[in-house]
């Protein structure tokens, strides 16, 4: 944690019209650290992640990645984004290209690598995610889990220093989640700096160096998985975790507290 922060977020605010989604986020992520961001739907997790690579323009505040201030209006944002890989919930593979072309086209167009080098890097990264045999397939012929692993390989082929994951397993059938998490675990072990929005508590507990709980556009709790998941200090965190771990129980609980609230 004493290493130089790879990602630094300072007093970040983001509004959509009147809707203030992020209300002052401060966060530092050290090089090689894995930070899982959890929180209820609508709490601004995706927005935060999208502000880190400026897919959303912050209303106020600063974002630094690897020492470069992305929020500086004069920064070359395309160059900066090359160092930040992003993986989306819906994969967002390019459907008109084969798996290999999905990996080579960005390298050739953006990094200006030659054909042979791009192909080599593509093959290497497909092997890393265990999909070397799908090199010539089209995305539509792959399962969701395979598509997501291709998406990860596509981001890795650009040689990023930081990887952002926005609920990478939420769109997958349960039996396909494991393969994707295994790839992410491998990346974490290799020392990739990762910021992961997820509801996979087992992954967060076992892989994350830190867990950040967000609610209502602010960071409510930030600490080791043991602290935030194992022994949450805040009522909101506890409530969220109990609902996540046992949805059936939580509903009853809510109903009871609702009724209690009405009778008061």
């Amino acid at each position: 944690m004493s290493r130089t922060p790879e990602i630094r977020i300072r007093d970040l605010h983001k509004s959509f019209g009147d809707n203030e989604v992020l209300r002052g986020i401060d966060l530092e992520i050290g090089q090689g650290d894995v930070v899982c961001v959890i929180g209820p739907s609508g709490s601004g997790k995706s927005t935060l992640l999208r502000c880190v690579n400026l897919l959303e323009e912050p209303t106020k505040g600063q974002v630094f990645v690897g020492g470069t201030e992305l929020t500086d209006p004069d920064v070359d944002i395309d160059a900066a984004r090359r160092r930040i890989g992003m993986v989306f919930q819906q994969f967002n593979l390019f459907p008109h290209l084969t798996v290999t072309e999905n990996l080579t086209l960005p390298q050739r167009r953006v990094l200006k690598r030659d054909k042979a080098q791009a192909a080599r890097t593509a093959a290497e990264n497909l092997r890393r995610v265990g999909l070397a045999e799908k090199a010539d397939a089209y995305p539509s012929s792959l399962s969701g889990g395979q598509q997501q692993r291709v998406a990860i390989a596509r981001a890795l082929a650009m040689g990023p220093e930081v990887m952002l994951f926005d609920e990478p397993t939420s769109a997958l059938d349960p039996e396909l989640v494991g393969d994707v998490l295994a790839v992410m675990r491998m990346l974490a072990e290799e020392g990739m700096t990762m910021m992961v929005v997820t509801h996979e508590m087992t992954f967060a507990r076992e892989v994350a160096d830190r867990v950040v709980f967000m609610d209502g556009g602010v960071v409510v709790e930030d600490g080791t998985p043991g602290q935030v998941i194992g022994n949450p200090r805040h009522q909101r965190t506890r409530h969220f975790l109990s609902r996540l771990l046992d949805p059936a129980m939580a509903e009853v609980e809510e109903e009871i507290s609702d009724r209690a609230g009405k009778s008061e």
Partner: protein
């Protein structure tokens, strides 16, 4: 045809009052067939087929049209159509991108162009290109002579439609595609060119082919530009020969030549649409 209807009707009738849904459908279909057959018979009996054949289907005159109707007239029609299509496509692409631009004046100019040229008959645009442009820019020749003028006129006509089609295609590409491209470091322009537009064209291939069919027919308006003998396309060729021979057979032959191209193209469009429909499922 009416036999099974009767049995079905009488078998069900005692159980329910009036006609069943199935019975009513059969009755309605039977009535429609009757009207259709009656109309065909009426037409066949009342038309003077002998005179029609004399005027439209004289084999000797038809034979005299070959091979020029193909190697000259059809060839020119295809040439005019394709050159107009290319100009329309390029212009339409520019206008579509202007329409989607974040720069206000670009959007505004593109919008005005689309409204004006979608609202004008193609005929007026041909006359405009043939008369107004040479008047406005004396001494300046449109490159390519008649071919250039036709390409310009057809291009102006089709660009407005194509711009709207291309814009719709670009907007039909999911937002995530642009976001994925941007997150990989593509600039907006490069993402548009390498990722979005190729996907948009797959989506709009059927309407673009339809536009090609429309242009193929609109190329007949070349005759308002005044063309030399070698520049004649199907309609002009047919009409000239019809007045020479005082017979309408050339019109029929020219019409068949149009259908020779438009029917297969229409077929192709429906196949592509069906395929796209299947891909969605």
């Amino acid at each position: 045809m009416s036999h099974p209807t009767d049995t079905a009707g009488s078998a069900v009738a005692p159980r329910r009052k009036g006609l069943t849904r199935r019975g009513r459908r059969r009755l309605s279909r039977g009535a429609q067939y009757t009207v259709f057959v009656a109309a065909v018979i009426a037409l066949a009996v009342s038309a003077d087929w002998g005179r029609l054949r004399n005027q439209f289907a004289q084999t000797a005159i038809a034979r005299q049209m070959f091979p020029d109707v193909i190697v000259l007239a059809l060839k020119n029609t295809v040439l005019y159509t394709l050159s107009g299509f290319v100009v329309g496509l390029v212009l339409g692409m520019v206008i579509a991108l202007m329409r989607l631009s974040s720069v206000g004046p670009y959007r505004w100019v593109a919008g005005v162009y689309i409204e004006i040229f979608r609202g004008l008959p193609a005929l007026l645009i041909f006359i405009f290109v043939g008369v107004a442009v040479p008047l406005a820019f004396p001494g300046m020749e449109i490159v390519g002579g008649t071919y250039g003028k036709v390409a310009l006129a057809l291009g102006l006509v089709s660009a407005a439609y194509m711009a709207e089609t291309i814009r719709a295609g670009i907007q039909a590409v999911p937002r995530g595609q642009m976001e994925a491209a941007r997150s990989l470091g593509f600039s907006p322009t490069r993402a548009m060119v390498s990722i979005i537009i190729p996907q948009a064209f797959r989506i709009i291939l059927p309407p673009l082919t339809n536009e090609l069919v429309l242009l193929f027919k609109d190329s007949s308006m070349v005759l308002f530009l005044g063309v030399t003998l070698e520049e004649r396309e199907l309609s002009k060729f047919g009409r000239d020969l019809a007045s020479q021979t005082a017979n309408s057979t050339p019109i029929l032959v020219a019409g068949l030549c149009y259908l020779l191209v438009t029917i297969p193209l229409g077929f192709l469009v429906r196949r592509m649409e069906a395929k796209a429909q299947e891909a969605v499922k």
